[in-house]
Every structure is written in C-alpha cells, then in structure tokens.
Symmetry: C2
Subunit: 201 residues, 2 copies
Amino acid sequence: MAESNALPIVVLAEQFARLPGIGMKTAQRLAYYVTSMKQEDVEAFSEALLNAKSKVRCCSVCQNLTDKEICPICDDVKRDRTVICVVEGPKDVTAIERTGEYKGMYHVLHGLISPIDGITPDKLRIKQLLARIQSDTGISEVIMATNPTVEGDATAMYISRLLKPVGIKVTRLAFGLPVGGILEYADEITLFKAIENRNEI
Amino acid sequence: MAESNALPIVVLAEQFARLPGIGMKTAQRLAYYVTSMKQEDVEAFSEALLNAKSKVRCCSVCQNLTDKEICPICDDVKRDRTVICVVEGPKDVTAIERTGEYKGMYHVLHGLISPIDGITPDKLRIKQLLARIQSDTGISEVIMATNPTVEGDATAMYISRLLKPVGIKVTRLAFGLPVGGILEYADEITLFKAIENRNEI
C-alpha cells in the first residue's frame, strides 16, 4: 500500500469512495468538507464509526442490530408478542417502524436465499426463527415481509413450508398498487396482483 | 445531547447526514454498511478522518491544502514558476491538474468575494498572493481561474485591479461553448461569449 505516502485528504477520499453509492467526485467533495469541519465534530464522527462497528451486535431474540443483549423492540413489554414479522435486514425494521402501525415483534434474516450468490438457508438466521417459535408457544402468526423479488418470494416460501408442520399461520405482505401511484405507470405484474387481490368496498 | 443514549448506528447515521449532499436515507444506508465492513477497514476510515483534519494544513506558498510545509506542486522544480493560476478552492486545483496541460503554479483563495455572505477581500488569501508576487520578480502572468459567476467575476476583477500597478499581465479563463456541448442547449450568455470570443480557423 502506497497510502502512507498519499495526502491525508486523498486517503480520506478513497475511504469515502469505498462506501456504496459514493463515487470518486462525491468522495473528494466530502473529504474537503471534513477539513472544514470543527475538530470536535470530526472526532465525534470518527468515534461514531468505531462505535457503530464495535458496539453493534445482533439482538439475541430477533437478530436485529443493537448495542444491547436484547434490542429495545424485543424488550418492550407493550408490543404484541403473538406476531413475528420476518424481514431481510435491519433497514426493513426501520421502514416498518416508521409506519407506526405495526406493534408486533420482528425477526431479521440478514439476507435472502439466493443460491446463485451462495446464500443458502443455513447462512440466514432461519434456525434462530425456528428455535424462537418452538420455544414460545404464544406465537400465532408469522408475517413474511421480504421484498417482492425472486429471492424474497423464495425465502418467504421456504420459511412458510418449514413453519407449516408447526401449525402456525404464515402470511405475506399484500402486493398491489402503491398508494398515490398512477395506474398506467404500474408494471404488468403489480397491476395483475392488484386485480387479483382486489377488495370489496 | 441525548446522543449517548442513542444506538451507535443511529449516531453514525446522524454523522453521515451532516455531510453535504447526504440525506437521512443515504446516511442510514451508509451506517448499516459500516457495520458490515471489516474491523480494520472501519479503523482505517476512522483514522483517515482524523488525519484529514489534523494533518492537513495550507501550503505556505500557494495556500493549497497539503500535509507538508510546502505542497508537492510548489515543491516541484519542473513546474513553470512564471505563471500563477488563481483559483477559488483546492478542488479547482485538482480539476485543472486533471487536464494535465497546465504546468505553472497555483494560488488558492479559499473563497470568493461575496459581501452578502460577509466574505470581504481580507477574508481570502489575497494578501498572500500580493506578497508572493512582490517578493518574486520572476512572475510574469496571473491567470484568474475563478468560476464564471458574479462572485468569481468580481473576485477576478478585484485582484486584477490590485495587480495592474505591479505591472503583471492578468488573464482570465476563456468562456465559450463547452466541448461536446450542443449549441441549441447553450444559455444565451454562454452563446454570446462564444460569439464574442470567436477565433479565426
């Protein structure tokens, strides 16, 4: 590595450019911006990076990222412990929490089944989900909230087959037109799903 | 600050969101990405941030950002010391260096004159430019390479008036159609400049 000889600002730009979605031009702009930040702000940023890596671990119940043994959602006695919403990643938990409507529990798989990318079911947190359901008889429904993609559908199908023998209700998020969307811009599959899943009004 | 109670990942997302051009969604995505990075990569990133702030200072000659007393360009004996290209910021030096055509020196103003924003000439590195020109009789030309904006033009005009009595040739970057640009999409002022500055072929 010739990095030790490179300018600190170039080294920082290269670090920014390694992040997803940040190109070299943006990375340079950010690196220059850092030189104009206050010393204590840069220190806070630097420490936040280290903390996010070192202090973050998976909740022993739902596998979501947290800095405690059990995450705040699993620890919240006011939440409905009879429903588990299964999602691909921590970002999906944040997205669903943002709706403010869901009051149940979560289970984070940390990926979706994708044999092409070498992601087999044993690489995901499916074991932990099964163990959770087997040890807690109060769970009555598992909502499969994986993405409406090939991998998301396959994962939902795989898990629902595993859970059938246990006798638990497995549901899937509804597919249809996005609210505020325009019918003529909807793709064929979405529109077909919207017709298929039509509701009486 | 309630930050000490916040999740490390939320704290990091907030840090990313303080950077220019990074919204909260992107910041969250980046924060989650950091948790998936290797420990040593996060440490390198964290250190690069601190280094960029603490080790970077202004070159005592051209005022460009560097980690040494004199920057590599000012220190390069092969460069043409008779020409100084005056730019707004370090990014402009990088942009001009990228062309590979310019072999002279630089002077970085660290801003443009903008009385509305409280940026008066004394806040810029204009003193240092004058001192440089007065102490070095070998300088024959100063190229004003500030942006073609109101502030850029005003700064170029201000400096050129300061330098006139010294008897140094002051030039300004050419304005015209961007290479590869389409004539009908050029704005009126650019097109007018392109006609005004037309060259015989």
